[in-house]
Symmetry: D2
Subunit: 313 residues, 4 copies
């Protein structure tokens, strides 16, 4: 008996992780954009899966070439703008491609200049072509285009923050496996992964100022993390998300994945030492296991579209 | 003007990456199961997000304790069985928890014994308590329970395979950015990430033999990779998926994420050397960028349920 | 025939990677030091190796406890001072321990405060207990004590820098395997690993101001990287080292490991595009292989003591 | 006042991590060697450091090309033989190069074939061009040539082994910071990094059979780990080293770096559960901190030459 036939479901392909660096010169002052670009194309791809017929398959090598060529032809204004250019290109020039998704990571660079303390000793001014990688969080963007609408997700990951007080964890549910002691003064630390969706969906409306929007959303998350007296990481998460939505009208939805980077107060009693946070605590920064808090915060009336798995570790 | 209120969307929380090792002794012969368990719980969690009220929040520390306690009370038959135990427990014992998802990675260990060649020299027999970590792929399982039905996804990742011939790439679409040369003899290599969904959804039907099912699915993927004369990685992917569905009736859906680990034939002409694969090729194994081919293969009539992002890098 | 006996050579043991975070409170302003401490002890350890006799073995668990207890008792002024405290303790309190080496990594945190641009929008002041991990380079320190002298090595790693011009590579040796084209305008980028040795060896002389010394050495490296018109990465390395030695009299020796993080100018001619750096180049940031330049720079008359392998990747 | 001049110390340069895969065909049966090759050259390099004069600098790009060309011209018999070829080449053809060091990692591949259990179901035979990466330990080799003598170090890393009993830790030194409880039945696990030095130093003597030597050394380490009733990891280390030296006369020295991968018996008493290892223990596999045991074992009369840092994490 022949087994029942298999059916092709959702599928996509493209070149992942093309590392493109664009230098722009304004006289002796240079500017950098340093991206990692991943292309995923979908469409009429049955024949290649069923029979290895590549007639509809634009090579992944070509998608890589296009990234480099577009960086030269159009420059890289922002990750979002660059993603829009690329996504539109593939859908509009390849009949078999119905949807294009462009994912971008951006690595930030600062100019090398003397710090406040070094200026006295070194005395030199900034040099316009010298940079040091900032190394903090990674900025992310994802642009999807289906021939009609764009969906633009901006985000960041690996933004590690810590409050050394103003965090407690009490009044939780208990069962027979609960041994955790309540605390009213703990370290709260997390490495923020956040993705937010812009309401903008096409050039009939003006585009957001992507860089400013990103900088502001990041700033509001940081301030909200710092200013919230936290009874749980969930509460902090919701505060961060609500503040971004309240302050940034171009954003309709935001999703967070927040690992609880546990800092355990070390028990120093066996050594005759107190370890009271009030008095300057000593903590063990643990790796695994870790709590993981994930949630979406939506503008009232908006539809949730950010996939749950997108932000997961 | 007050900004419109924010709404809580999908959310989940729990302890991620509890590393539990269970040793079972049968006389002097020991057995190991070595797991990394991540719990994610969802339910009536508005109050903790909105107000930091933890009354419905079973601590993530408790979910960790439960993993260890259950390993002792019930043992670990398979990752899937262990996930079913845990998922059911949280939903059935905590009223506020409506859905539990348990993700497990398993690391395989082999017994230390002399290889065929060493037996002559060493002469010793296996020792029942000594193991060497296999180190090849990681086995994965995900069990979700919503109080009614279970969904069990099995899988693996980091299974790296290579065909040194029997692969070509020709007849593809070309545009102005296409420079790739066609080839009829290339190395095809990938690191397989695969997740497959079992039709089993609860104990009204007998459970699959999870270990055997996994071993067989893995074997069929490997054989299919090896036996397919490949005109594209998409074709190979579909062959791998179809074969698993044809041979394993307990599986309804399978999704792959296959990076094309490029092995480029090195141009040795500048050194007066040929580099014909027929004659033993020299290849450069590249890191980035890489092609990335992702697709779901479904049993005819089945509904696709494996999230696209679940298998992505 | 009995095989000739084996002899124990250099050996050391201890607890690696104890992650200790010390919070100090000054009213509502908190301070953080976030360290990763690894202890290695050597001495009269024949019996434990030969016969499993642990009488001379202070458990590695105890060395971990000591790290936490000392953080509470003495605080953490600088990584170097903390290393000196710990190294002296083990040698002076355990007769069998003749040498102690303490390696420390430090992770920097900045306060969360509004950036220049956000201040207008957000208006809030800094909160004294909220931090964001800087994420740039990792500061390192290694203190060795043999009961007589201390040796203090300070350093850093993962400080990634880039010059987008003012770098060439020409006039090099050529053989039959040379295909590289000369260039007079390339991107020069590296991820600096540097370790430097202080002349200070004990408290008969005043200790350097470790934090200031580190900050200044780092600044001089950065400035030197930026200001050098580079004909080779070796030349840049030597400039960086010489400047540190010239400006910082407390330092006698410095060793660098500088991967040449290649940024290749993309060939865009097939697409009818120029790619002239003068006009804003597009580069491919490559991963592997990479050039690797390593060297020690010494104050004239000083003895080289930093092991070559210490800075290698 | 001019600062005293700086002096160039030990230095080396070359291309790191050239990923070369060589396929050899014997009819339809193919063979793979998959290497990661790093070249480091030293010699008369003052002028490039002091003045950026590259006349003595063979480009790192050329060393990469040489790796590929030699793989084609001479094949890759073993990592050690390939390293000897390359090291000799650079010293003998470049007058300014006085010493060449070649480091190689090798990744092992197995043929895809049905396992014992699958043969019944699948029935197919092995296909000569299909491979699965073994994924266990990485084999290493380092060849140094100074124009006179070769030094060959073979080794491995990431060979993870575990004994689920036959390990204790008692009778250790105690001080005021000691809280560890003694145990007579613990899990002992480590990830072996080992490097051993061959006495062979040039072709006036026959070369060892490198592959067999490696396989045997690895086998003796594994057997020794399994067969030793361990009172400390130091004792196990010395047994492993002694056995390799006793059984393999071509090896004069071996150095190990053995992290103690702690598996802590979980305290299940709060849940009314025993957790007696005799009865099948439940362990928490910890990440950090970890004990780290490092030592050299020497043939009596041999000189220690393996740098301490070479094997360190």
């Amino acid at each position: 008996m022949t087994p029942p036939p298999s059916v092709l479901g959702q599928n996509q392909y493209g070149k992942a992780e093309t590392r493109v660096v664009k230098v722009t010169r304004e006289g002796r002052t240079h500017h950098l954009r340093d991206l990692n670009v991943s292309i995923a194309l979908s469409g009429a791809m049955e024949r290649v899966h069923h029979a290895g017929d590549n007639a509809h398959v634009l090579p992944t090598d070509t998608t890589k070439n296009t990234v480099f060529a577009f960086a030269r032809k159009y420059g890289i204004d922002t990750p979002e703008d660059f993603g829009i250019l690329l996504a539109r290109h593939f859908v509009e020039t390849q009949e078999a491609i119905h949807t294009a998704r462009v994912r971008i990571e951006e690595y930030a660079w600062d100019r090398i200049e003397p710090g406040p303390d070094q200026r006295r000793f070194i005395g030199a001014e900034e040099i316009g072509h010298s940079f040091v990688r900032r190394g903090q969080e990674i900025r992310t963007a994802q642009v999807t285009y289906d021939g009609q609408d764009f969906e633009v997700l901006s985000g960041l990951r690996e933004l590690t923050v810590l409050n050394s007080t103003a965090s407690e964890f009490r009044g939780y549910a208990k069962d027979e496996y609960t041994t955790l002691a309540e605390t009213d003064d703990r370290v709260l630390a997390t490495s923020v992964t956040a993705v937010w969706r812009h309401s903008w969906s096409g050039d009939e409306r003006p585009r957001p100022h992507w860089d400013r929007s990103h900088q502001q959303a990041r700033g509001h998350m940081l301030r909200s993390f710092a200013e919230t007296y936290s009874r749980s990481l969930q509460q902090t998460l919701f505060q961060m998300g609500s503040r971004v939505l309240a302050k940034r009208h171009e954003i309709d939805e935001i999703r967070f994945s927040l690992p609880n980077k546990h800092h355990f107060l070390v028990d120093l009693e066996p050594f005759g030492l107190s370890n009271d946070p009030e008095d300057g605590g000593v903590y063990f920064a643990a790796d695994r296991p870790y709590g993981l808090i994930e949630a979406t915060v939506l503008r009232d009336g908006a539809t949730a579209r950010i996939p749950e798995e997108l932000t997961s570790p």
